[in-house]
Subunit: 414 residues, 2 copies
Amino acid sequence: RAQFDPTEHPHRRFNPLIGKHVLVSPHRTKRPWKGQTEEPVLAKLPEYDHECYLCPGNSRSGGVKNPVYKDTFVFENDFPALLPDPLPFIQPESHLPNGTGPHGADVADDTSSSTPDQTISSMFESQPVRGGAKVIIFHPRHDLTLAKMSQDEIVRVVQMWKDVYVVEGERIRSSADPGMEEEGYVQIFENRGAMMGASAPHPHGQVWTLSYVPDEPATELYHLQKHADTTPTPTPTPTSTSTSVTTPHPTGPHGKPCLLCTYAAEEVARGDRVVELFGGWVAVVPFWAVWPFEVLLLPYKRHIPSILQMTDDETKDLATILKRILVRYDNLFKCPFPYSMGLHQSPLPPLHPETSIAHTHFHFYPPLLRSASVRKFLVGFELMGEVQRDLTAEQAAGRLRGVSGERHYLEDVA
Amino acid sequence: RAQFDPTEHPHRRFNPLIGKHVLVSPHRTKRPWKGQTEEPVLAKLPEYDHECYLCPGNSRSGGVKNPVYKDTFVFENDFPALLPDPLPFIQPESHLPNGTGPHGADVADDTSSSTPDQTISSMFESQPVRGGAKVIIFHPRHDLTLAKMSQDEIVRVVQMWKDVYVVEGERIRSSADPGMEEEGYVQIFENRGAMMGASAPHPHGQVWTLSYVPDEPATELYHLQKHADTTPTPTPTPTSTSTSVTTPHPTGPHGKPCLLCTYAAEEVARGDRVVELFGGWVAVVPFWAVWPFEVLLLPYKRHIPSILQMTDDETKDLATILKRILVRYDNLFKCPFPYSMGLHQSPLPPLHPETSIAHTHFHFYPPLLRSASVRKFLVGFELMGEVQRDLTAEQAAGRLRGVSGERHYLEDVA
Ligand SMILES: O=P(O)(O)O[C@H]1O[C@H](CO)[C@@H](O)[C@H](O)[C@H]1O
Ligand SMILES: O=P(O)(O)O[C@H]1O[C@H](CO)[C@@H](O)[C@H](O)[C@H]1O
């Protein structure tokens, strides 16, 4: 009988960061595609577009006029999904047909001590939330992307992320109910390209701030904490009989193992999923990648709870590796590569970073699969059963390593 | 101060079926849309298309010729994501750089008893899986959809689901390793429309069978079991002082509370999220809906672990309510409404249905938000932070109730 070969045979991988699996079907890459194709993305845009509501000096859809900014520019989203402090002292209310109902019931998962009626009404709880939404324009030029900006310009974007992270964190903290210990979150992200729902091609990202830790980072923090609490501290000895590749791993707060530090250092040692290595940063197609060319970017030499703890060098190196990843993306299918990118770090700017189990990292979720116009659809089976991918993470990393991270395809054209 | 009003103010809701939240931003529906719009879907297709690889008598992409089928037609997917029994007796292998490594390590979540090296290599485990993928063509006519098929024709589709469920379940069970107690899953689903990744407009669905229970149903089953184990059995007494709407709820196996039975009966009593009520079935926009016009369809009068336990009447009523939901969908934006639909039920056809906590239900995840061409993008914040919606579930249900479930918009045109 043939040996199991993960480059040929269907298999399942586990993502320890969120406790979920992915089904990998490498043999399926031969499948022809007769479904929807995407419109080719215009690679050549004007430096200034008088119809763009993000260009300097233009009016936005809400009516406000942008200043003639010269660098990055931040403003409050004109249609924010979150509002600052709308109703701080009002308790959640359950949705009863007549509009009234018991106050203050908890939506907590554990219903063991509740009565049946409480259980039922807790199914219909709406929890009021506070927060805000900001837009960060990366550059005044309409035709640029992070991939085409200089390292210095990207450093200024990272600097802006740090500033907004502090300011927004303070805003949530200071508006908390008196006496309430609240843990909020500042979610920094970018939707790049119309295919990923970006409503404008002008280079920009967003920051949504919340009076709670949303599900995705909360799940990651839960698994990071559990790993720290249940994994024995690594003590490599010369008598170790394991065949695993062991390297000294950086540790998290109080010397406890950090799942992501361990994972990152191990990926560097193994190498087959590494796309870029620069300074203290590594970019990999994670072992458990879902999106065809998903990338995880994180520090592998030391535990960094949030971008506030980065040194100047780490900040500059981050700008460099960010640019390199995005140049590789654009070069892969010779198009402005669409993606959603998000930064996960410590909930609200940490006052005591040495205690946070969070380890700064960026997720890149790009939808393209085969070409600039054929994407992966995460639909039926993926939504109802389990996420699924065709090419393996190792194959995707190989493809990304196979194109340049230095020279953008449009430079060759020009 | 104003009262918290869930139709106006941002809030968070909890989905007890999967233990996740959704951020609801009803004030955001006023947001203008300048991003990507979708191509209008051709509503008029020919009855037969000689280029369609699903039409009767045509050749498929794999080369095989379809028979001139007259009813439903099932075949093995030419490019299946799962393969039957590729390597039954081979243990998982960890991905070490040199391609060899310790065998048989477990990907289980609990790493408390493992050594650091085991912990690291268990991060890189690939688990071989078995299974299969089938395509079910709903009708020989290229231009039909479930919404336009007769009740009798839909009953035959449901009958086909029952048959495939049994046959595929048997296939997995009989190919299990000797002595291994395996729990597999038969995932029945439909991707409708190019926007949801369907590669052909010809009416068809799919069935993927797996030698394990995939994450989505596994998560639901976990929460159903937990609810049954920790919720006190309802004993309504005349002295009950609760203001909650209480109705006698059907219960799950051994008289234990079933989360979905309780939820469904309660939605029927409350009414504001109900879209259709027919026979023993209710279709609601669930309280925790993520997709703008998401629908959950389930029995509310008795616990039904799988479609095999449906009576003839329940089967017929299911066909009727399925059609009505889909007619409403098409009527909402006067287009062939795209969606992914999936059936969740008991893992592998239950031998002892009275013991399964599963309660048969269908999820409908349709992407459209404002019109036939403007969809909701679940991207940046939704992927990195938490799923988010604009209009409330109650508003969506109201919109769906506001269009006909009986008369299809194309009937008016004809
Ligand atoms: O099998 P199909 O219809 O060709 O493909 C479609 O459904 C599958 C199951 O949801 C997905 O994996 C594919 O991405 C999608 O395009
Ligand atoms: O805020 P934007 O860029 O207009 O909108 C985009 O990003 C948001 C945050 O991921 C999403 O909720 C929207 O669906 C998407 O179109």
